[in-house]
Symmetry: C2
Subunit: 341 residues, 2 copies
């Protein structure tokens, strides 16, 4: 084993999307394992919109931002290559929030959980659903959105990892599900791959009219991943007493820091339509992952949840991969494969 | 009894605040009473920010807007001058939503409720608290805001009718209560008349710094009556899991219709701070008024709720009175006295 490992460090704060200067690949020394520590080799690192938030200099965010100069972080499925911790044995798979690195030494806390062994071709999908998208969809859609059978559910960024799972869970609960996505292929996928009832292509430029046509009875639950004009369009059609799940606001994450991003112009609908709007952070719910996993595995085994992966190869590609999220050029749950399982 | 009655009609849609052209005082014919009808003579008509919403041409609002040409409406305490309805006897006081008129004939529905007789000098205060401000404060603060003892509660437009009652109810529930108001006199009143723990004068121009100083442990419940910069300031200091009660957004109600009003710039705090934000309309809760009145009368009898009235005399003054709400020139719950009790 080499005594150093490549690691992406955060070296320049982006003013818009991440770019070639945002991160720098460095050789970091690998210290010897101390008691209670493990050596992790990342296999898959998930690329998520929330990663961009960690690069901002906004105050008081839900987790400490990544400091300039420090290793960039991501949700990781890794192999334990060496262990001096009894609960994390060598050779096992483990998930947690770790550096974009070839290898690293860490003292695992309870947020690092063992992951079941499975055939290599199922691993990325299981990680994608179980580690992030599935729990996020469950907490957001079911616990905050509280859909009832017969409700109309609108999901933005519906072809994304979280959106596509949330839509399928809403279908399982007997809802009419409408997805907003960009482009014909994503909209086809919503209907054919994920079983949505309707898809609206915001790139067609008729968002309000198309939504009105697809939601003639209004919207009861809005599962929002985007913000901006997309959120405003959804708010226009909410029914009285509707629930608005603020899962993500990807349209605002990579705006230049000096440019204030206004909230939705239809904000007063909160009063007029008696809406409840609530945000959440999935990191708050890690202690309930075992229950979420039981639910998700049940649905997956019954063939009720499909998932699309978009895997990019190699640690060198991580910055470009992250940038893809903000141009909408990924076609499924985006992951970078750092090494073979 | 004359066969006509003066009545303010809505004759020109305002683009900003209401003005001299918004309403026209007309002589309307008074039809004879039919079976099931009553003749009402308004005594007090309440002036409320929500009245301005009814004059907009926005679609899909929580009640039908007042059509151009139709009588303007307001929450009213009136005397039943004649009755052909067994449950609304002649001579009794009654409250409901009625025209800005000297007299009118109506077929009362369950939203018209009898009001207890009391000495003339107590009537306006009881009407102000029981008909609107008290129930609004209870539903917003207690049911949506769900404050716990020791929480910090921030209230905007705190010297207004709803804000001052909400603050006093928060004190009854053991909270630290901070009010935002405009001007030294209003801020003095928050502390001395209403028992707030702290008052912040937004007209001093140091809103963020002053709030930071008064809420060193952050804000758990934000009771919002204003919107715009005031809401953004409050959102800056929310604690994780905080509740934001959207009771009113008076700063946006009289913006010209052609000028879109952005939502709060700190909207993403919903995610970062896991906030729940909820709007409501007190008209939805009329069926629970008896229970609210019991609570409120208990607090009033125990001397735990103070109230400031600002009464304007005469039906002719109603339009000018309504305009005062949007310049902040009233110094208490604003009512127009149309006639002697």
């Amino acid at each position: 084993m080499s005594q150093t490992a490549k690691c992406w460090h955060f070296t320049q704060r982006p003013t818009g999307n991440v770019n070639a200067d945002t991160f720098t690949l460095q050789d970091d020394p690998l210290p010897p394992l101390e008691s209670g520590q493990i050596l992790v080799r990342p296999v898959y690192v998930s690329m998520d919109p929330t990663n961009r938030v960690w690069l901002s200099d906004w105050e008081n965010k839900y987790m400490d931002p990544v400091p300039l100069g420090a290793p960039m972080l991501g949700f990781t499925l890794g192999r334990i290559e060496a262990s001096r911790h009894p609960e994390y044995p060598e050779g096992h798979l483990v998930t947690g929030l770790g550096p974009w690195a070839e290898r690293y030494v860490l003292t695992p806390d309870e947020a690092w959980t063992l992951f079941p062994e499975m055939p290599a071709d199922q691993l990325a999908e299981a990680f994608g659903i179980l580690a992030i998208a599935g729990p996020t969809a469950i907490v957001g859609l079911l616990e905050i959105g509280q859909p009832e059978a017969g409700d109309t559910v609108l999901i933005s960024a519906a072809a994304g990892a979280v959106g596509s799972v949330a839509g399928q869970i809403a279908k399982i609960h007997g809802c009419r599900v409408i997805g907003i996505a960009g482009g014909k292929e994503k909209c086809r996928s919503l209907i054919e791959d994920f079983g949505f009832d309707a898809a609206v292509d915001y790139k067609q430029g008729n968002l309000l009219a198309d939504l009105r046509a697809q939601a003639p009875d209004g919207i009861d639950v809005l599962f929002e991943n985007v913000g901006g004009d997309i959120l405003d369009a959804g708010l226009s059609f909410m029914n009285n007493g509707g629930r608005v799940v603020i899962c993500g606001l990807i349209s605002s994450y990579s705006k230049p820091g000096s440019e204030p991003v206004p909230g939705p112009y239809n904000f007063a609908e909160l009063i007029f339509k008696r809406l409840r709007m609530e945000g959440f952070v999935i990191l708050d719910h890690l202690d309930r992952y075992p229950r979420f996993h039981e639910q998700l595995v049940g649905w997956m085994d019954a063939g009720r949840i499909n998932f699309r992966l978009h895997t990019i190869q190699g640690i060198e590609s991580a910055p470009e991969a992250l940038a893809m999220l903000f141009t909408g050029s990924n076609t499924g749950k985006l992951m970078v494969q750092f090494s073979a399982p």
